[in-house]
């Protein structure tokens, strides 16, 4: 029998009867066997969690892995290792693969290849066949195979009619549509936020409006269709306001934000460092503030990593030639922790990382109590550390945080 003993951890689980108390947790063969004080367990692997918190394992709502087709960016094994290092026991896999996850066979492939991993992988199926934005993909078949939601990944659905039909069709079997909101016509070939910074850099800008006009469109469609709709990695103050108002009206809208959009703004681009090149682009300080306010008042339900690993060949280039994205699974928590400071309690953070992501995807939420399967993340918000390139588990070393002192560290995940 495999035994793990977590010692002196503060229980950070809003649903647990032991919430807020310092406890030992004994796990036997993946089940929480005991929850108490000063538990003795001979032969158990011990984790000293003094001063740390234990919460239900975190679920990332937005992960890019290169399997199938782009395994040199990330494969399932390296993704699982990076996820564990970053505190995630579940990853929502975006269909930005080659081929895209647009039919049952790709969903089945992901499910079968990830069954034995130390992380659960929830594939998102494409909205459109081949992710081309034209015809609806076989969403129901993918749903039966285990697709948790539908999205065209980093390609916004530009055809309003297609988004309309996708929402209506998904309603027929309770499917969830994830919207990545960007109007391509307004974004043009710009790569950074439109603002003073883009002007000083001599770059065209992507106006906040490019996102907000699509958020407004998709809220209108969801209202018309009475659909559930989730927005991933929103980035502007206007989007937060639109979503806040939609929620007030009682629409079934949810949203997440990436941790890095909470901490970083477009002033970081002045170095032309392509590690800051992300989509949606880093916005202004005012947007960052509005995103934090939205996170606090519940407009934004969850925080995602938006993990986007790349080979150095795709990133160590002139800014405009470089690919979008940051390898973030291992830093999402400290980045979030540093962005919020003391403005959110540990329990609220757990809601954003563990509880709400599962509610959005319709997954069972594990509770820390005797008899439940152990699905846990142990973390310390106060611990400071430096991210070293050589210690990153992800294949993607594209991170602006390498060499930087971060605050907040994950000690372990248990699944």
């Amino acid at each position: 029998m495999k035994k793990i003993l977590i010692q002196s951890a503060t229980i950070a689980d809003p649903a647990s009867p032991e919430k807020g108390k310092v406890k030992d947790i004994l796990i036997e063969d993946g089940i929480i066997a005991r929850l108490g004080e000063k538990i003795r367990a001979a032969g158990a692997e011990k984790i000293d969690a003094t001063g740390c918190y234990v919460s239900p394992g975190w679920v990332d709502l937005h992960t890019n892995i290169g399997d199938p087709g782009l395994e040199t960016k990330e494969d399932f094994l390296t993704a699982a290792a990076a996820a564990a290092a970053g505190g995630f026991t579940g990853l929502t896999l975006m269909p930005n693969t080659n081929p895209p996850l647009h039919s049952k066979s790709e969903i089945d492939y992901v499910k079968s290849r990830t069954r034995e991993l130390s992380v659960e992988v929830y594939p998102v199926g494409c909205i459109s066949y081949r992710r081309e934005g034209e015809d609806i993909a076989e969403m129901y078949d993918m749903h039966l195979s285990g697709a948790v939601a539908f999205s065209d990944g980093d390609r916004p659905v530009m055809d309003t009619g297609l988004m309309m039909r996708a929402q209506q069709y998904a309603n027929g079997f309770g499917g969830l549509i994830i919207s990545y909101a960007e109007d391509r016509g307004l974004a043009g070939n710009a790569t950074v936020n439109e603002g003073v910074v883009s002007t000083m850099l001599g770059m065209k800008g992507i106006p906040a409006l490019a996102e907000e006009i699509m958020v407004a469109r998709d809220i209108s469609l969801a209202s018309y269709n009475d659909s559930r709709l989730h927005f991933t990695s929103v980035s502007t103050a206007g989007s937060v306001e639109l979503i806040r108002n939609a929620k007030k009206k009682g629409l079934k809208i949810t949203a997440d934000v990436s941790a890095h959009h909470l901490l970083l703004d477009d002033s970081y681009l002045e170095s032309f460092d392509s590690n800051y090149k992300v989509k949606p682009p880093l916005r202004s300080k005012a947007d960052t503030k509005a995103l934090l306010a939205g996170l606090k008042d519940g407009t934004i339900d969850a925080v995602c990593s938006q993990h986007t690993p790349h080979e150095s060949e795709y990133k160590e280039l002139e800014f405009e030639a470089a690919a979008y994205g940051i390898s973030t699974l291992e830093t999402a928590y400290p980045v979030l922790n540093m962005a919020i400071g003391k403005s959110l309690s540990v329990l609220r953070i757990v809601e954003k990382l563990a509880i709400n992501p599962r509610k959005i995807l319709g997954l069972n939420v594990p509770v820390i109590r005797k008899g439940e399967p152990a699905n846990l993340t142990i973390f310390d918000p106060a611990r400071e550390w430096v991210l070293e390139r050589a210690e990153m588990k992800s294949k993607g070393k594209n991170s602006p945080f390498i060499g930087q002192r971060l605050k907040g560290k994950v000690l372990a995940t248990i699944l």
Partner: protein, 308 residues
């Protein structure tokens, strides 16, 4: 040489102090005198090898740099490639490192991507001069423009300069704004609303969309070339309509009731942004700009070569 630049690369006006700009001007004064001598050559950069690395077409900027290098007795090599062939194969860093491996001391680079020079400076030791990076900066152009204003008007400070044309796609506009502001000039930008960056006003410039009003305000008008090749989509319906709204012609100039100085970074689209009778008029300093370009580039390279 006692005075030195505060920087070892000339990547943008952004990085220069006012003192740097004045030092470049003073040095250029000397070199301008040199290039008007019967023997135009000085040994200042003997044994210095400069590579002109151009990833984008350019005739006159490269010619001006090359002439400046030859007047300084530098050894010169030229490399040009279209950025498309580079993006397919060799990276920018590889290309430049290969050139540097042949013992080159200084790189003059033009590149279609903003910040390419800044990026390159993190990877190589040689001095870099940015000869234009996308719509970001073109520092030697801004310096020669300000130098030409100083020569014509005695001083740059307090002068009113309007930059007319495609501000969105122009590196000349951004570098000029930064340079003129550092030297105490007042700057206005004027052009079609679709070619005006939304936040340009926050750089401390006035924004005007009516050419007549802009000309009535200014002492100097810098007429930018309309660069259709830089526009991926249509920002205005036709050149004809652009000329109707923003073309400078003699009748307009004469109706102002005052004299203004006319500049243009070249090459001129005669009859588009400026008519021939304006370009060739007594108020135009377009050819002086070209001459000063050589002196300014000599000064910039000479001063950078003093920095290790």
């Amino acid at each position: 040489m006692s005075k030195q630049l505060s920087t070892r690369n000339l990547l943008g006006i952004k990085d220069l102090t006012e003192g740097d700009i004045q030092l470049i001007f003073e040095t250029a004064d000397n070199f301008k005198e040199v290039i008007n001598r019967p023997i135009k050559k000085v040994p200042s950069l003997r044994d210095v090898t400069v590579a002109n690395v151009f990833f984008e077409n350019s005739t006159r900027t490269r010619l001006s740099f090359e002439l400046a290098q030859k007047r300084l007795s530098a050894d010169v090599i030229n490399f040009s490639a279209s950025s498309s062939s580079v993006s397919k194969g060799e990276t920018l860093v590889d290309t430049v490192k290969n050139i540097l491996a042949m013992k080159v001391d200084m790189i003059v680079m033009r590149h279609p991507y903003p910040g390419a020079g800044v990026f390159l400076s993190r990877h190589i030791q040689a001095n870099i001069i940015n000869a234009g990076d996308g719509a970001h900066e073109h520092p030697t152009q801004a310096l020669l423009d300000a130098f030409s204003i100083r020569e014509k008007m005695g001083d740059v400070s307090g002068k009113k300069v309007v930059i007319v044309g495609d501000i969105l796609h122009s590196r000349v506009a951004l570098s000029n704004i930064l340079c003129l502001r550092k030297l105490g000039a007042e700057v206005m930008v004027c052009g079609p609303t679709t070619l005006m960056p939304r936040y340009i006003g926050e750089l401390g410039v006035r924004v005007e969309h009516n050419l007549r009003k802009a000309l009535e305000w200014c002492d100097i008008a810098n007429m930018l070339r309309i660069q259709l090749e830089r526009q991926d989509i249509k920002y205005f319906p036709s050149l004809r309509e652009y000329t109707m709204m923003y073309g400078l012609n003699r009748a307009l100039l004469d109706s102002l009731g005052k004299t203004i100085t006319i500049m243009h970074p070249g090459p001129i689209n005669r009859g588009v942004e400026i008519t021939s009778d304006v370009a060739d008029s007594e108020h135009s300093i377009i050819l002086e700009q070209v001459e000063n370009g050589v002196a300014i580039r000599m000064a910039a390279m000479y001063l950078l070569a003093q920095k290790d």
